[in-house]
């Protein structure tokens, strides 16, 4: 047992950290001031994403025959962690979660087109699972795909299709069997090119970031865009969830927020004299953050390590989801409290602390406690898979 990065892993961490400084150009920072381009999609984002592809950074964990480096999950985690820490809107669900599933299950032509495009940093994919009446309960989704000769015709609506405003494809779960014996058995996965007629997208404004509703009105796509077996979609959805989770709760980004706030508090005068950080209540909050961060860091490393040993235990994966998402919200609260009332000043307003980064993070923070599978369902999973307790109803 040695819970530390090896010298080689530390070197990778440093290399990625330095590299990402060159990705976060002043042009990109300027572009990201636009609310609609905060999460990527602008010309400078496209340019830097393609540069990451050309420099060989995309698909580190992919197999060598796809142009990957077959790095372990730990190294993949180190990479993702640093990329997210840098603030780049790297489409990690595209690169780490969906692309490997496509590489395994798509036909050759689509694999070259889409997986090759991702590898080059030219393609982004949005995820179309949720629907207005189906969130975590994906088995109840209703968007349907019907076979018509060599094509499929898709009708329905998806909700919370983040990144769809600039994505090249939607990774879409659709019902192909309206009346299966078990509801999750009638789903099939498709890739819908977003320039297909009948596809449309409207913004949904949330507390923080923009997301989208997407509409599918007689969208006709070739059978080559079907991924995996007909009615075999459930397996493809669940096989990518673990990887997805590990990208959602990385330690680096929140750790850098902690450092920034502590630095700010050490430099800023308190009303009573001395520095903000010399006040015991500020120290208490910073200590609480540090205690939680340490557990988060080891949990992420531990899960990446477990994924290298074999499939990740369901209860452990759900543990990371619940702990990570709820700790994020708590961390934002504790750090914002250190700033006092000025913590509420948004970016670009005079007096905003740390460019309003935390003010913004708090507003987007609650998404993760229900997104990616609501935490109540994760707790059901923990009770069943981790403690052998009977199914709740």
């Amino acid at each position: 047992m040695n819970i530390e990065l090896t010298a080689a892993q530390k070197a990778l961490q440093t290399e990625v950290r330095e590299y990402m400084k060159t990705v976060m150009t002043p042009e990109l920072l300027e572009e990201m001031k636009d609310d609609d381009l905060k999460e990527g999609g602008g010309p400078e984002f496209r340019k830097q994403y393609a540069r990451m592809g050309a420099d060989g950074w995309i698909g580190l964990s992919w197999p060598k025959d796809l142009g990957g480096k077959e790095l372990s999950h730990i190294e993949q985690y180190i990479f993702t962690d640093e990329v997210i820490r840098s603030g780049f809107a790297y489409p990690f669900l595209t690169t780490e979660a969906v692309a490997p599933v496509l590489a395994k299950n798509a036909n050759d032509e689509v694999r070259e087109e889409v997986v090759g495009g991702v590898k080059r940093g030219e393609v982004t994919i949005a995820i179309g699972y949720s629907e207005p009446n189906a969130g975590t309960d994906l088995a109840s989704l209703r968007t349907k795909a019907e076979r018509d000769g060599d094509d499929w015709v898709i009708n329905g609506q998806k909700m919370w299709t983040s990144l769809a405003n600039y994505a090249d494809y939607v990774w879409l779960a659709a019902r192909t069997d309206p009346d299966p014996d078990k509801k999750h058995k009638g789903l099939t996965m498709f890739l819908v090119p977003t320039d297909t007629p009948g596809y449309s997208c409207t913004p949904v404004r949330t507390l923080g970031a923009r997301t989208n509703a997407t509409y599918y009105e007689d969208v006709r796509i070739s059978d080559k865009y079907r991924v995996g077996e007909i009615n075999g979609g459930w397996k493809l959805i669940t096989s990518q969830l673990n990887v997805e989770r590990l990208s959602l709760f990385t330690h680096g980004q929140v750790h850098s927020l902690y450092e920034s706030v502590a630095e700010w508090a050490a430099e800023t005068k308190a009303p009573s004299g001395g520095k903000v950080i010399e006040q015991s209540w500020v120290q208490h909050n910073l200590a609480r953050v540090k205690v939680g961060l340490e557990a988060l860091k080891i949990m992420c490393w531990n899960q990446a390590w477990m994924m290298d040993q074999g499939p990740l235990d369901m209860a452990k994966a759900s543990t990371a989801k619940v702990y990570g998402s709820e700790f994020f919200v708590e961390l934002y609260r504790l750090l914002l409290e250190c700033m006092g009332g000025a913590g509420s000043i948004a970016a670009h307003s005079p007096g905003a602390i740390l460019q309003g980064k935390l003010e913004f993070r708090w507003r987007v923070g609650s998404i993760l406690t229900f997104g990616g599978g609501t935490n109540e369902v994760q707790r059901d999973i923990i009770a069943m898979a981790g403690l052998w307790m009977p199914r709740t109803r």
């Binding site: 047992m1 949990m299 709740t392």
Partner: protein
């Protein structure tokens, strides 16, 4: 990075489980409640025979030298069974410190005895002071040794121990000494503590300690007490891990069988989610404890990791204990059902050697120092 549990460690854990289970059914545990010192000498003998008392004792002294991490695995198993086996004060606080800081003669004399089952305990706490590196207990140099005066509290096995390891302040210099509890000037007063066991207050009045029983002085003594603090805290975290895991599993089983409103109460999300929250808490405690233990095992700086682990330890103990009792209803507090013992033990550990509030305060001051120095 490597989270692998070595094979030999897994077999140590298995062996420990077998022995501890044999000695910790409800009736056996009952015999050590309340007005008795919590020490099962037959169990201790069995652990000695299996080589489990010498996990962190060098081979020449009769140990197996598997190291500190292996010792915390034993502490976890003792926690899991709530067995009356004082592994933390004897094997960690006393033997671990002696091994690393004692003279060759003291090591020769005591480590093999401890591996064989002899009791040497440690007295690290005083009234209002849980830092043995800054004791109020004082010492003055005498001909051939030191005279020690002061008071230590909540000492495990004080009346059974052959020696008690403790620290004292000698004109601004720290000393660590082995005290014979039968020496003139030592008064032991029984203290009943939350864990429902007898410990002792040790009052020392000019107790003569011969020079050969001095473990360390000066800077070495400070290092020794800092090591003892960190190792003891980490071992307490490991015990807590076993305790909490067991409390949670008892609660998972109980709620899966206990029926109310015509169904098992575990099928109510309000119940199952509380137990799931315990699972998440315990996973966090496990990871931070493993980190602290592996750093100490490698002789690396561990202070911050240990502080963080002990904060988690206190918080998790409190939450898991309360959730377990609550989900059991009255059964949880009934002394004929095993849960109460775990709750009491957990509370005792939570309050020992630094609690969450105190350590959070300390950590916060450290953080402030670090960032003020950099600004």
């Amino acid at each position: 990075m490597d989270f692998t549990i070595a094979e030999e460690l897994a077999s140590v854990q298995q062996l420990a489980q077998q022995i501890l289970n044999d000695f910790s059914d409800v009736e056996q545990l009952k015999a050590f409640d309340g007005e008795h010192v919590r020490f099962d000498s037959k169990l201790w003998e069995a652990l000695a025979e299996a080589g489990l008392l010498g996990l962190d004792i060098p081979e020449p002294q009769g140990g197996t030298d598997l190291g500190f991490f292996a010792l915390t695995a034993l502490c976890e198993e003792v926690g899991r069974t709530a067995a009356p086996a004082p592994v933390v004060p004897v094997l960690v606080s006393a033997a671990g410190t002696l091994r690393r800081f004692g003279s060759d003669a003291l090591k020769e004399q005591w480590l093999s005895a401890i591996a064989g089952g002899s009791i040497v305990t440690a007295a690290l706490e005083e009234y209002g002071n849980e830092d043995p590196a800054t004791p109020a207990t004082s010492a003055k140099a005498t001909e051939g040794g030191y005279a020690v005066s002061g008071t230590k509290i909540c000492v495990s096995l004080a009346d059974q121990a052959q020696r008690i390891l403790l620290s004292a302040n000698c004109d601004g210099q720290l000393i660590v000494a082995l005290i014979d509890p039968k020496a003139a000037g030592v008064t032991l007063s029984p203290q009943l503590v939350t864990a429902n066991e007898l410990r002792h207050e040790i009052a020392l009045d000019n107790v003569q300690v011969p020079a050969e029983d001095i473990v360390a002085t000066g800077a070495t003594a400070v290092d020794a007490m800092n090591w003892a603090t960190q190792a003891t805290r980490t071992a307490l975290c490991a015990s807590m891990l076993g305790l909490c895991d067991k409390m949670m599993r008892i609660t998972g089983s109980y709620t899966s069988e206990r029926e109310q409103f015509g169904r098992a109460i575990a099928t109510f999300q309000s119940v199952s989610h509380r137990v799931a929250d315990c699972y998440i808490d315990i996973e966090c405690l496990r990871l931070v404890t493993q980190q602290a233990a592996s750093l100490i095992d490698q002789g690396r700086p561990a202070e911050e990791a240990v502080t963080i682990a002990k904060i988690w330890c206190g918080d998790v103990a409190h939450r898991v204990s309360q959730a377990s009792q609550h989900c059991h209803g009255g059964t949880g507090v009934d002394r004929d059902y095993p849960l109460f013992r775990y709750c009491l033990q957990a509370r005792q550990i939570e309050l020992s050697m630094g609690n969450s509030a105190q350590l959070t305060g300390q950590l916060g001051e450290e953080i402030a120092r670090e960032f003020l120095a950099a600004s």
